[in-house]
């Protein structure tokens, strides 16, 4: 099973590609709404991409109150 750091790295890479943002501009503790220039609906879209990538199902509430990549990685890691 990948570590949380692996998961985090994969999320950052996937987000960078999907939203066309340079990978180096994304940091684990950065606010992904701001870094990716997205609203809460587009964040749900990101969640869908992550579900497909990691082959898990994440309820919407897992994203409630989450704004940084690290916490998101922890939520995903818990379901791997």
């Amino acid at each position: 099973m990948p570590t949380t750091d692996n998961t985090l790295d994969e999320i950052l890479s996937l987000a960078a590609v999907h939203f066309k943002v340079p990978r180096e501009k994304l940091t684990p503790d950065g606010d992904f709404f701001k870094a990716l220039g997205i609203d809460s609906l587009q964040a749900l879209d990101l969640l869908t991409r992550l579900e497909h990538h990691f082959r898990i199902e994440l309820p919407d509430y897992e994203l409630q109150g989450v704004t940084d990549f690290r916490t998101l990685a922890q939520r995903i890691q818990a379901r791997l």
Binding site: L41, D60, Y61
Partner: protein, 569 residues
């Protein structure tokens, strides 16, 4: 629909609705592409009866307050129905608030009962403030087997046998306490009566009727004034069906339109914009020839629907577009925040009418609404039947504060007589919004007199509610304003909060201070964040009790610096 004039309470009207259409579907709940619940009015009655009986046994008495903190799902409506049936007062809380905010509003509302989803209850029990919870009976839905519920009951097991007895309420009795905002210093709990809701429902369904067979897609949170009315009370008293989705992922929302052949849906501007983006992207992918034909068909539709919508005709002219919406959509209802006229026009030109309105929690749901005779993207429509709207102290251009008088205007703010007296003056609700009427009775809005913003997601954010996160910021003093309050724009949109800081003598605005501001800002929910900061060179004017004179300071700043001086955070 039921003749609501005959009813004195929501409980009585809803009870009769369940008996009137026993075999009609009233509720569908889907999670992604899996349908989880499908209830007829008769099924709904059977589900709610044992809960009503259990509430009776728990000594639920008329006027008892019961809060609900849940995402949109069948148990929300079953619980709300049961609370009304037992003569209770419903306190619908926004599930997106933090646990600390939930606890604060539960205390402020003095709710004796709480119905809450498990994941939200878990967050509340983990809050450092949990010990302060005063709610006596908590019902938790969907709790996993073996979960420690910290003294709460499982909703699914909170049932008793027997026939419950409807508790009569009068029209002037309180039906709901709805928080329009204010989890900071001063919660604003709007006390709305049964009369408010019954009259508002009558007015809305006069223009936009529901009937058995109509399917309303409930996307806005049901605690929101719009969805509570058009995603619960309205459809139920007309025998229509509400469709709940447990996920709001755009792909599943799009799928639901088709799967359930949706008739109406209410949206906030952000979601409407998202739908527009998706459609435009699809149009852009079309080969040049097909795109040319589509553009011509849209132009024809636009021409032929100039005076009023012809939904049937539009469906035949643009079948692929309408098929994407399920083929039976009659209108998109939009409200809660400023909506870009170009977006509304885009949908109308495709033959999908957009009913844009204006309302506020203090006036129950809606004050004005577009009657589509003809469609107007540049206004928020005309006053609803029974609503009087006037412009207070209009300036030379006719713009002044919008005031409303109707039976839908709230009774008062909970435990805040001062604010009530300032807000409802001689029966007129002073909205704090600026507007004027055009020549044909349509209301146009031009910004806000009050210091607040409304996000694209329909959330009211008051500076006072977010200031506490900056407590202890290493500056001499600070204050937060809505940018449009300092620099009135006479238009809506481009709303943001601005943090104004006054530095200590000799202090420079350092990178460390900027980092500190950003870090504190991140502690706020994303939709509450401050958009920029501004350094102000003078001491803030204060009252004798050292409170900041916000109005005076805002005016000083507005005169002293331009909006362009705000530095983005």
């Amino acid at each position: 629909m039921l003749d609501l004039r005959q009813y004195s309470s929501l409980g009585a009207a809803l009870r009769d609705a369940l008996e009137r259409w026993p075999n009609e579907t009233c509720l569908i709940e889907a999670d992604r592409d899996r349908e989880k619940v499908r209830l007829t009015y008769s099924d709904f009655r059977e589900m709610a009866g044992p809960l009503c009986r259990a509430l009776e046994d728990a000594e639920f008495v008329p006027g008892d307050r019961a809060a609900i903190i849940m995402t949109n799902q069948s148990k929300w409506l079953i619980s709300a129905y049961s609370i009304f049936f037992c003569g209770g007062v419903l306190v619908p809380l926004d599930y997106k608030l933090t646990a600390a905010e939930h606890l604060q509003l539960l205390a402020h509302s003095k709710a004796r009962f709480l119905v809450v989803e498990y994941y939200l209850w878990r967050a509340i029990t983990q809050s450092p403030e949990f010990a302060k919870l005063t709610t006596e009976i908590v019902l938790v839905t969907e709790a996993p087997v073996g979960a420690d519920l910290r003294g709460a009951y499982r909703w699914e097991e909170f049932r008793r046998k027997g026939e419950p007895k409807l508790v009569a309420r009068e029209r002037e009795d309180t039906a709901c306490i709805v928080y329009s905002s204010g989890t900071g210093g001063r919660p604003k709990g709007c006390v709305l009566t049964h009369d408010n809701y019954l009259e508002q429902c009558r007015a809305l369904t006069e223009w936009y009727p529901f009937w058995p067979g109509v399917r309303y897609l409930s996307i806005l949170p049901t605690n929101h004034a719009i969805d509570f009315m058009v995603g619960f009370i309205g459809p139920f008293v007309c025998g229509a069906c509400v469709v709940h989705l447990r996920t709001l992922r755009p792909e599943f929302v799009r799928d639901a339109f088709v799967r359930y052949r949706i008739t109406y849906v209410s949206l906030v501007p952000m979601v409407l914009k998202n739908l527009e983006r998706g459609l435009r992207a699809k149009f852009d992918e079309l080969p040049r020839g097909k795109r040319f034909v589509l553009d011509r068909l849209i132009a024809i539709n636009k021409l032929l629907t100039r005076r009023r919508p012809h939904v049937g005709f539009s469906r035949r002219l643009l079948p692929q577009v309408h098929k994407a919406f399920g083929g039976e959509l009659r209108a998109l209802i939009v409200g809660g925040a400023f909506t870009d006229p170009a977006t509304m026009q885009f949908f109308y030109d495709l033959g999908v009418p957009v009913a844009c309105g204006y309302g506020l929690t203090e006036a129950c749901t809606a004050v004005t609404l577009n009657d589509l005779k003809p469609f107007r993207a540049d206004t928020v429509g005309k006053p609803l039947p029974g609503s009087e709207v006037r412009i207070l102290n209009p300036a030379g251009d006719g713009i002044g504060e919008v005031a409303v008088r109707s039976r839908a205007v709230m009774s008062h703010y909970l435990d805040d007589a001062d604010l009530t007296v300032k807000t409802i003056v001689e029966g007129w609700l002073h909205t704090g919004d600026l507007g004027r009427f055009d020549g044909v009775g349509h209301l146009q809005l031009f910004g806000r007199k009050k210091n607040m913003i409304v996000t694209e997601g329909g959330k009211n954010i008051y500076p006072e509610d977010v200031e506490m996160v900056f407590d202890g910021l290493p500056v001499k003093e600070y204050c937060i304003f809505a940018a449009n309050y300092i620099w009135p724009q006479k238009s809506l949109g481009e709303e943001m909060l601005v943090l104004v800081v006054r530095l200590e003598q000799g202090q420079q605005f350092s990178d460390a201070l900027a980092t500190e501001i950003s870090a504190r800002n991140l502690k706020l929910a994303d939709y509450k964040r401050v958009g920029g900061h501004l350094v102000w060179e003078k001491d803030f004017p204060r009252t004798a009790s050292m409170k900041i004179k916000r109005g005076e300071l805002g005016e000083e700043i507005g005169r002293g610096v331009r909006r362009e001086s705000v530095v983005e955070i």
